[in-house]
Symmetry: C2
Amino acid sequence: MEKEKIRNLEVCFSPANFPFYQNKEESIIVIVDILRATTAICTAFEHKVAKIIPVATLEETYKYKNSGFLIAGERDGKVIEGADFGNSPYNFMGNAVKNKTIVITTTNGTQAVEMAKNCLDIVIGSFLNLNALCEMLIKQNKDVLILCAGWKNRFNLEDSIFAGAVAEKLNNEANYSLNCDSAMASVDLWQIAKNNILDYIEKSSHRHRLKKLGLDDVLEYCFTPNITKTIPVFKENYFVEISKL
Amino acid sequence: MEKEKIRNLEVCFSPANFPFYQNKEESIIVIVDILRATTAICTAFEHKVAKIIPVATLEETYKYKNSGFLIAGERDGKVIEGADFGNSPYNFMGNAVKNKTIVITTTNGTQAVEMAKNCLDIVIGSFLNLNALCEMLIKQNKDVLILCAGWKNRFNLEDSIFAGAVAEKLNNEANYSLNCDSAMASVDLWQIAKNNILDYIEKSSHRHRLKKLGLDDVLEYCFTPNITKTIPVFKENYFVEISKL
């Protein structure tokens, strides 16, 4: 019997480190920005958004707005001027998103998409679609690189523990080896966090940033696993539900 | 009574993230490259080396060699051609280093020094000088930024757990707040590692790289705390023992 090939799972803690991953073009890239871009995107697809177009710059975002597109976005946690959506994942629900195309720009998340454009595939991960995402990755059986959006090119806790949750699953349930120190660290941090994520994340710096912005109420939602089975995947220049590919 | 000012301790997991630390020019930078540059440098100062000149490029290293300097260095873990020292911290002992000036270049560590040159002060950290380093930092009472050399601009476990050891001490024993998520993560990882560092580090990727290179025997030494009280500090273009400043 042929021995099954071992796949690699790597974790990149911030976009600044991404250029130094050698295997990225042969990997499926999972983009993670738990607070809040990828949580909002998963929410929008659960609520039947048609397409999400991620753009890196404000300039490009406003070009889309001038062409009649709905836009959403934040910089440093605050809603950008002229946005059609508020700053909470709760805004991406119901008729506000159903069958719509939304252009989105965020401080960290959309820059990460920009960097990963030459890779095998880009998908969106959040606690909301954790199990569905892992099942899909195991089925695809390709190398996986989890790209944490982080905070301004620095490590953050919330994205890293999510990476640990995925790494643990792919390591336990399938033939994935954790082939880098950051993958191993993320699993260790996830072990500490998993039994009470909100308590653990209480100490994170971004959690305090959200508190200041009056966005405390989104925290519990952002860390709730498996609310949706949707998996947003990047195609041409937009995200679409994987079943629509 | 005037309230004592709270100092910040930050941790940067790799040189790629360093440009994104806003407070670096007001901070004492602790450079960490446990396997093996900063361990070797602490060893050399314990054995009375006069100066260590860190250089980033091979080209510059060979210029020094041509001018009659002793050179030491590695790339990808292997000794560079023409080096006067082997690849183990054990080579930096006794008469080989006493009163000498040594030029050193390494894959990760010396690039980190290059990046930090505009900061308040640069000092060298390793498990070998852990307590002495922390005592000095507490006495200085300035903001501290621990710069992990990492591995090729990626996170590594050995430098990060050392950062956690320093962060824990400065947080417990002095008025330092852990003001970034990477500092908090490094303390969490250190909690897991501290009771059996060698067992913990067994899983790290660099440990396996060393094994391949036949450098297994340096591991225990590199993780032995408080062998020396020496603190190498950067001045002009070289490191010197802090008492010689």
